[in-house]
Symmetry: C2
Subunit: 473 residues, 2 copies
């Protein structure tokens, strides 16, 4: 029953990986990931080419894949998004086939429909035993929840667990059980968990962000959604973390306790849980060391699969459908409240769809927060460069100058009145757009892109938008 | 997202259950089960008939189903076994179609192959939330692990969770996640967990059983399988529990610690875990209140699916394949070491295949323990009445008069020498048979049975034996 194979190369050979097949891995180690390049190197050394890579997402930790894309080892990606470096490669035509971008919930739905078919799933685990039982909370490289891989192993033909802490004893608790694992490969390192809290997850206390956070918290409080038993996703962006702090204080003052918080779990949610303000944390991916420790220690901090979290094909609907409110970011929002989180206004792919569309569709109240402009770019535009989340799922946009309510959605008319009655600065989104343009001027129209290099899928499997080559890159 | 439906009847209607379909439920509440009859009543009230019932097993807690079998609501069973009362019904021709008996590992394999197709799985849970997240460790009817249902929900078309403690808040930890649940039905009671430790699970200290237990422990110790890092299933029969106590003392004296124990988990295994003698407990079904509490409190006490536990189609083999030794019972064993645990020597179905065959095939050393005779019946017979576990998977038989080693299996010849060298009473099984017959006489040949009412499947999906009608019933 021993499944230990001493090299990735050998495990891949045993799985029968061939040219043109599909592999997957998770991105839970984020900027600290050291697994994807080891996988790529082993595959290349076997002379296997033309693979589709279907990871949960791509971050800076995966930038080393560039070499293996350029030489044709990897020729297509099915992913939530790209790191800026891999985005540049995509849009300069460096990836041979058209890539597919899906939300975190769209991905398990695509797996269920068979639109993505994983031949070999690679699962980085911070500890595993010789039979393949593993988790992300034990070992010296603990990174927390492995929610994406929980889904992968359900659908993949073969599963290889990669660990830098092979336990001679049965691993417990079991996140992925041995019945779903074919091989276990010990490696020197799966990565540096210190790289997890990079980029998006660092809090920030600038006056601008504080102002937006304050308005956001007020809008949520006035909406009535922050009630006893509320369910929330507060997000991990700079503004989101600050809003969470204000929600925490409000709940504490009023002695309100929420039902659950979900998503990438952060230290502030763990603190709220310890303070009795949240009963349950649903975690697909732990966003900092505090969250990782909490997942290991707190039975009410639950690791959940991406499928449970966000798949529209989860029975009765995924956990996101129970959200009272979610706080999300945007690179752009347009006057119809459509949101872009994949590209910037220069049509450069810089991030991914993540759980944005899933939570936006699921939550009763979806709040988009962003500054009015970033440098010379207004955030509010006539039409988003890349449609990530359709405006019909967005209720409120908050920036430093006020709150725009999407009253094209019937239920939001009362919300707008309520916020206005509470004395909050409710403005038409066109007004906010004009204010932004006072600082930035109107954006010149984008140079038409080149050929299509990526397709952005909505969670129901339909195509929302296309990503074009960017000749400036 | 609220999945609560106020009656079983309504939930069944919503699932589209129709004549001729298949339902399932688990038997973890054993003698205390109050769910199966409520399901039956709801189904009958809807006028649905001719159903196949595919529970994990049938115990005395399911005896109330008799009415619903007689009236044609249920006309076929796919199960591990029958309670004595339902066995009588089967063998008196009271079940209209031929039934199928499979081991606990054979069942998930049959689900995977499509030999069993569950239309609606009913999952009794001691607590569930309104979205369907549930477990068996919360609530006032906590019964412990729900390992069988973990497998059912993976394969069933529709899933109904039945609970007598509906939580207004998110349930944690999550044994079965909401993404796998269609409806949640609150009921007055799912049963009485005090009924769990009935029958097989009560320890016993008779001198006869102590003698057998002593010889068994000595045989295991001499075999060399009780080493540092050993994996074991000690069972829940009277003799097994006593053997476990001796193993505990030996391990403590020698400061040996085992890797894992598995199967139905009992208080003695929990104690060994607390004493540091076992690193992990793998639990498909908790056999007493101590085990139930431990599952809730000890992170190294892991709930595992029947598939992980015993399915021959689990990737790389199920957990049973890692066993160093298993202690099992028998109603009969024959001179070729074939074992019967389904019927008695009067050809009366009294129990089920359980995990007998799975662990026997998986373990390095399979020990069958039983008294030499029971009342007027010898335990050793020329040919078992019903073949449950083929002799090639049985290594040793222990009774009060000595130890028979199955030397037809090559590897056991050295074992026989080793036991003999240690001064243990190693005897030929034919000798033991003759000794038994000195007390009981030779059994008269069984009256030929009537038509076939049941088929006993081996875990690979082939038919091992048939169960015939018994005219004496």
């Amino acid at each position: 029953m021993d499944k230990v194979v001493n090299s990735l190369r050998e495990a891949i050979r045993l799985c029968g990986l061939e040219d043109g097949m599909t592999i997957s891995f998770h991105h839970c180690l984020r900027g600290g990931d050291a697994v994807s390049v080891q996988i790529a190197e082993a595959i290349r050394s076997l002379g296997i080419r033309d693979l589709t890579v279907a990871p949960s997402s791509l971050t800076s930790g995966n930038d080393g894949l560039e070499d293996y894309i350029r030489d044709g080892t990897f020729t297509r990606f099915q992913t939530s998004g790209f790191s800026p470096a891999l985005g540049r490669l995509l849009q300069s035509g460096g990836i041979r086939q058209v890539c597919e971008l899906r939300t975190h919930g769209g991905r398990p739905a695509a797996l269920k429909r068979g639109d993505i078919r994983i031949d070999v799933a690679f699962v980085a685990a911070s500890t595993a035993d010789r039979n393949g039982n593993c988790n992300g909370i034990g070992g010296h490289s603990a990174f927390g929840a492995m929610g994406y891989s929980l889904t992968d192993v359900r659908y993949a033909r073969k599963v290889i667990v990669i660990t830098d802490e092979l336990s001679p004893y049965a691993v417990a608790p079991v996140s992925i059980g041995q019945e779903q694992v074919d091989y276990v490969v010990p490696v020197e390192t799966i990565g540096d968990p210190a790289g997890i809290a990079t980029g998006a997850m660092r809090p920030d206390r600038s006056p601008l962000n504080r102002r937006i956070a304050e308005l956001t918290a007020k809008a949520i409080i006035c909406s009535g959604h922050l009630r006893e038993g509320a369910a929330m996703q507060t997000g991990s962006g700079k503004i989101s973390l600050s809003v969470a702090g204000q929600i925490e204080r409000y709940m504490m003052d009023r002695q309100i306790s929420g039902d659950f918080a979900m998503g990438g779990i952060t230290a502030i949610l763990v603190r709220m849980r310890k303070e009795g303000l949240l009963r349950t944390l649903y975690d697909t991916q732990s966003f900092d060391q505090t969250a990782i420790r909490s997942l290991a220690e707190d039975p009410a901090h639950c690791e959940v699969s991406a499928e449970a979290y966000a798949s529209p094909l989860a029975k009765g609907g995924p956990i996101v459908d129970g959200l009272d409110f979610v706080i999300l970011g945007a690179t752009e929002i347009d006057v119809d409240f459509n949101v872009n989180v994949i590209t910037n206004s220069n049509n450069q792919v810089i991030s991914g769809a993540g759980g944005h569309g899933d939570t936006a569709e699921g939550a009763k109240m979806t709040v988009i927060t962003a500054p009015l402009f970033r440098g010379k770019y207004p955030v509010i535009v006539d039409r988003v460069t890349t449609l990530t989340t359709p405006g019909r799922f967005v209720d409120v946009f908050v920036c430093q100058e006020g709150i725009a309510v999407n009253t094209a959605v019937q239920k939001n008319r009362e919300l707008a009145d309520r916020l206005r009655d509470a004395g909050l600065p409710v403005l038409d989104i066109h007004d906010l757009q004009r204010r932004a343009e006072r600082y930035t001027g109107k954006l010149p129209p984008l140079k038409p892109g080149g050929r299509t290099v990526g397709l952005v899928y909505w969670r129901d499997g339909t195509v929302l938008d296309e990503i074009k080559m960017n000749d400036e890159l």
